[in-house]
């Protein structure tokens, strides 16, 4: 054991040694240590370099507020985590940590030059310079600034760890497991409530873990904690979550908790989640988030060895570590004397107590004097000395008139400081509760709650132990039962609790305030804050943004109130008038992975596959993502690329027969006596005259008149329609239908059901399709007369009950066989087997080429939300006799009939060879330079194997009046001449489709 480690006491196990590395050097700690306490136990105070000036820094605190001790912890090449607070990193065997923001080493850091040049780098300096020469910001200055900024190094390999998530509900969520939180949980559990109690630390107890003087009911504080935990663990309605930070308070009492599951383990079990995100909806919330000790702002207050008094006490009492051999305490309240007394008792020499107050006559100062500690009142700190560790402090005694009576330099290797406490109102403020300034405590305290929430204990300015526990009992009982009155009580006592506080910079009586730090991590000093006010930044939000105070990874936990007080002083206004910056989620930095959870790879979004998917995969299909669906795009054979495969598939459909999986098309069953009326009101078409057994191509517009979706609609019965939609449009079309059905036309007797997945849909297309299906269908006459184009019939296919629709998106004689989904693969196989050499499976790419040859649009490709039915050449589909349908009124506006609207046309390259690029623009005038006058764009473009030339569809201004004219597609290599042609390239008479 080192000289720094005490022989006994604390929450560590000295018999269990833990080896660890810091910056490549081997050290030893013990079980129960944090990385911070283990480093201190090895005499290591220098743990980091500051963000801007690269000043050497030691640990300031022992907890979540730590601004200096940021390290990178490395488990393996992929498990590298930057910017962890050493005070929160639990030590495990083999832990490997690195300091940050220094080069080449922590002891000797070239970046320190910034410190010597610091007069050139006041707050906001970068707004005033680096503007010349123009363009140099990006090429010259910014890269330098970027390299200097940042803290740790981001991981460079994918994180292999798992992250879990869960939702939970409870009657009472207690955030914070110190005395107040434990008391609240006990009292809430007494009422029979479902309770969740969480604490960010590895064990419950809060300040009691560091307070050997505390007594509760006559025994030690720890005994009470142990008993409370035993009681709570035994209650099945209580969930205890240690290592769990309540990081966010969201509307309607939803809290986000981050539970760390494996970071403290030397060898985490394989597959175990590293962290779990809890989303807890609580009927009531009790915030028992405690308070954070404030640093004192004096010159040179940032040297390693200078830390919060409470932190020194925690390191001693909880971790058994002395932070030095000879310490000076700088304080403005009684409580911190207990730290001096504890250290004194542990053999640390207390060189002096510098008390900023004119008098210090309380019990603790008296005890300190009795212990032989020199107490200086009316004291101030004029500076400190030391390189990588403080070695002297310069104290002054104020004469009461603004001068210094005596100056004195005291040798020391540790300085403890305390400006009192800042209640942790982060979660309360996130909940949009209103804070109020408390003058005696010099703090903002919770005032009006916005949610069903109560703050208890130190986070609302109650600091004495008995008061804290009583507050917890009362709030816990009330949160659970809705009634006031508590069943429990204790007698408790601990040192301190006087609540005296000090804010802002110490009086310097004219001495320089150089290097009086307010925000340690961002190197914001008193001078920076004063400069900001001088430059006219008066709102605290402006000061914060200009100086960056409070914007570091600690989010101002130790700095915000000191900054506020200094700004208020400079502006000569009361603190509440300067305002308080918002507290934002998260309370402490929270891992991205925990928000993402299991949502990665195939779990990022559902992968929807059709019943025939595996068959296509076996056949070597290449798939594309369409919405959530995987669709076979083409079926390459041998060494075919996409174009060869598509050409082959197209020719096969045109000459024989193709088989295509159309199952992803959306299907909606519209049922009820008013089904036809309902569709009349929605779709542009007329449905009243559609006979049972017939199909019609339908177009759905939005109310603004633009095409929203399309699809074939079959009338299965007088009161039953089978409506198909685009693959991507299925959900939103159904949602739109439900909106009109429920909210505009509730009087209609009509109901809607998605049947997309009820049916497997097998498109059999091509001149041989009828022959092929003959013999596989029963009870259905698929002959040309009995089942003409655009009709539907029920029957059995391969012995399975289903329906056959005679529809074609290919331009050939074609059928779509619908069978219940579980039979899809069997029927597909049967049809495919029957087709032998005459049948060719094809994918979406071939489907697109075939339909483009016929001039059929794809909604979303040939339309883009600004296209009307008429623009797309579909005015024929509009039911002319209808008084109204969704979109009709918008289509009556003059602009919707302007002759120069973009209209769907076909384009043919004049050279007969060049395939236009989809998205390429269309111009009337050749040879233009940017900015060009453009009149349209190419929406679909393919090589047509069957026509042996390229084809394209385009939206062109006034396009239909331009038939036969020449237009130009400007490409980087020059214009491509194109001829405007009708969009139907293949079989314009439709003879094949009606075969």
């Amino acid at each position: 054991m080192s000289v720094w480690r005490t022989p006994g006491g604390g929450r560590i196990d000295r018999t269990q040694r833990r080896k660890f590395r810091f910056d490549g050097r081997d050290y030893q700690g013990v079980a129960g240590d944090t990385l911070a306490s283990a480093l201190l136990a090895n005499g290591v105070h220098l743990v980091g370099r500051s963000f801007k000036y690269h000043r050497p820094r030691g640990l300031l605190s022992a907890g979540a507020e730590e601004p200096n001790g940021l390290v990178t912890v490395r488990r393996d090449a992929a498990r590298v985590t930057p910017n962890l607070r050493a005070t929160q990193v639990e030590l495990y065997e083999g832990l490997d940590a690195l300091s940050q923001n220094r080069w080449p080493s922590l002891q000797f850091d070239v970046g320190r030059i910034n410190d010597w040049l610091s007069p050139l780098f006041p707050a906001g300096f970068y707004y005033k310079t680096f503007m010349w020469p123009k363009g140099a910001w990006k090429s010259l200055y910014e890269p330098v600034i970027r390299r200097a900024a940042g803290l740790g190094v981001a991981p460079t390999e994918p994180d292999p760890d798992r992250y879990a998530q869960c939702y939970a509900h409870c009657d009472v969520l207690v955030a914070g497991g110190g005395a107040a939180g434990l008391a609240a949980a006990l009292a809430a559990a007494d009422e029979g409530a479902r309770v969740i109690l969480c604490d960010e630390q590895n064990e419950f107890g809060g300040a009691l873990l560091s307070d050997p003087q505390a007594t509760i009911n006559g025994a030690g504080g720890q005994a009470w904690v142990d008993q409370a935990l035993a009681e709570l663990s035994a209650n099945p309605r209580v969930t205890l979550l240690a290592r769990t930070t309540a990081f966010g308070y969201f509307p309607h009492n939803l809290l986000g908790l981050n539970e760390r599951l494996t970071d403290h383990l030397s060898a985490p079990p394989a597959g175990r989640a590293r962290e779990r995100l809890w989303q807890v909806r609580a009927r009531s919330v009790v915030l028992a988030t405690g308070a954070i000790e404030r640093p004192v702002v004096f010159p040179g207050n940032d040297r390693p060895g200078i830390l919060l008094a409470g932190a020194a006490r925690t390191f001693l009492n909880r971790y058994g570590v002395r932070v030095g051999t000879r310490a000076v305490l700088v304080t403005a309240g009684d409580d911190a004397y207990q730290a001096a007394l504890d250290l004194h008792a542990a053999g640390v020499s207390i060189a002096a107590v510098a008390d900023l107050r004119p008098q210090a006559e309380g019990a603790l100062p008296t005890a300190a004097r009795r212990a032989g500690i020199e107490v200086l009142t009316s004291a101030t700190v004029l500076g400190t000395l030391g390189g990588l560790r403080v070695n002297e402090i310069v104290l002054g005694e104020l004469d009461g008139t603004g001068g210094v009576r005596r100056k004195r330099t005291v040798r020391c290797d540790a300085v403890l400081m305390s400006g009192g406490y800042t209640p942790s109102v982060h979660l309360f403020s996130q909940s949009r509760g209103k804070l109020a300034w408390n003058e005696p405590l010099q703090a903002f305290l919770p005032d009006r709650s916005a949610e069903r929430e109560r703050s208890v204990g130190a986070c609302r300015g109650i600091y004495d132990l008995a008061g804290v526990i009583d507050d917890g009992f009362a709030a816990g009982a009330e949160a659970a039962s809705g009634r006031s009155g508590r069943r429990r009580s204790v007698s408790a006592h601990s040192a301190g609790g006087d609540g005296s506080a000090f804010l802002g910079a110490v009086p310097l009586a004219g001495a320089s305030s150089d290097k009086s730090f307010v925000d340690w991590q961002h190197d914001v000093t008193v001078k920076d804050l004063l400069l900001a006010t001088r430059e006219g930044f008066r709102s605290i939000e402006h000061v914060k943004r200009f100086t960056t105070t409070g914007m570091a990874t600690d989010q101002g936990k130790t700095s915000n109130l000191n900054a506020l007080s200094i700004v208020a002083g400079a502006l000569e206004v009361p603190i509440p008038q300067v305002g308080l910056t918002s507290f934002r989620m998260p309370y402490t930095p929270t891992t991205f992975g925990s928000f993402a959870g299991a949502s990665r790879g195939d779990l990022f979004d559902p992968v929807r596959k059709t019943p025939m998917h595996d068959w296509a995969a076996t056949e070597g299909a290449v798939f594309e993502d369409v919405g959530l669906w995987k669709r076979a795009r083409y079926f390459p054979r041998g060494g075919e690329g996409m174009h060869e495969a598509v050409a082959r598939e197209c020719l096969a459909v045109r000459s024989a027969c193709g088989i295509f999986d159309a199952s992803t098309l959306g299907k909606i069953e519209v049922v009820g006596a008013d089904a036809a009326e309902f569709l009349n009101r929605l779709y542009v078409n007329n449905w009243s005259n559609l006979a049972v057994g017939r199909c019609r191509y339908g177009i759905l517009c939005r109310e603004d008149g633009f095409v929203y979706d399309d699809g074939v609609v079959a009338r299965l019965a007088p009161d039953r329609f089978h409506v198909t939609t685009t693959t991507g449009g299925a959900a939103r079309v159904l949602a739109m239908m439900e909106d009109y059905r429920q909210t505009e036309w509730p009087e209609l007797a009509v109901w809607l059901a998605s049947t997309t997945e009820q049916w497997a849909v097998i498109a059999v297309q091509g001149p041989k399709s009828r022959d092929l299906l003959q013999g596989l269908v029963e009870d259905i006459d698929i002959g040309a007369a009995a089942l003409p184009h655009m009709s539907v019939a029920h029957g059995r296919i391969c012995g399975v009950p289903g329906m056959v629709m005679r529809v074609s998106f290919s331009g050939e004689l074609g059928f779509e066989v619908n069978v219940p989904a579980d039979y899809g693969l069997g029927v597909w196989r049967a049809i495919h087997a029957r087709g032998e050499k005459d049948i060719t499976p094809y994918g979406t790419e071939t489907m697109h080429v075939l339909r483009a040859e016929k001039g059929y649009i794809i909604v979303g490709q040939d339309t883009d939300g600004t296209v009307t039915p008429d623009d797309a050449g579909l005015a024929w589909a509009i039911g002319k006799s209808k008084a109204d349908f969704v979109g009709k009124r918008s289509l009556q506006r003059a602009s919707m009939h302007a002759p120069m609207r973009k209209q769907l046309v076909g384009l043919k390259s004049r050279d007969g060879r060049t395939i236009l690029e989809e998205g390429a623009q269309v111009a009337e005038i050749p040879g233009q330079k940017p900015p060009m006058r453009l009149i349209g764009h190419v929406s679909s473009s393919y090589y047509s194997a069957c026509l042996a030339h390229p084809i394209a569809l385009a939206l062109v201004a006034g396009g239909r009046a331009r038939m036969g004219t020449t237009l130009y597609v400007p490409m980087p290599g020059g214009d491509i001449e194109v001829e405007v042609v009708p969009p139907v390239f293949y079989d314009p008479s439709g003879a094949r489709i009606h075969a």
Binding site: H252, N253, A450, R452, E703, D704, Q742, T743, R889
Partner: protein, 102 residues
């Protein structure tokens, strides 16, 4: 994630709902009787209320029903939810409980 009280199913998490915009907009019975300005008002003009806003929600991933709600857009607190077709309640009559949708 808000907690929203579906008039049919009770309190449910926001992820089960879709937002439906301003409530009590009725599609004109005869749109062709409106001039372009009046039609544009129906199509696009919204109160965008800062304060208690009557709005539509759909319990899309639950019972599927549309319903109306009164929500204060400055606090996201719900004062009431009510079925389509019901009159807009008086928000003052039901004092909202903090953080609790009713």
């Amino acid at each position: 994630m808000l907690l929203i009280s579906c008039p049919y199913c009770g309190d449910r998490p926001e992820i089960e709902f879709t937002y439906g915009g301003q409530a009590h907009l009725v599609r004109p019975a005869d749109p062709s009787a409106l001039d372009d300005q009046q039609w544009a008002e129906y199509l696009y003009m919204r109160t965008n209320t800062k304060g208690v806003h009557a709005e539509r929600w759909r319990h899309a991933r639950g019972c599927g029903r549309f319903f109306n709600a009164l929500r204060d857009t400055t606090t996201d607190r719900f004062a009431a939810t009510y079925k389509i077709g019901a009159a807009r309640p008086d928000p003052a009559a039901s004092e909202p409980t903090p953080g609790t949708a009713r």
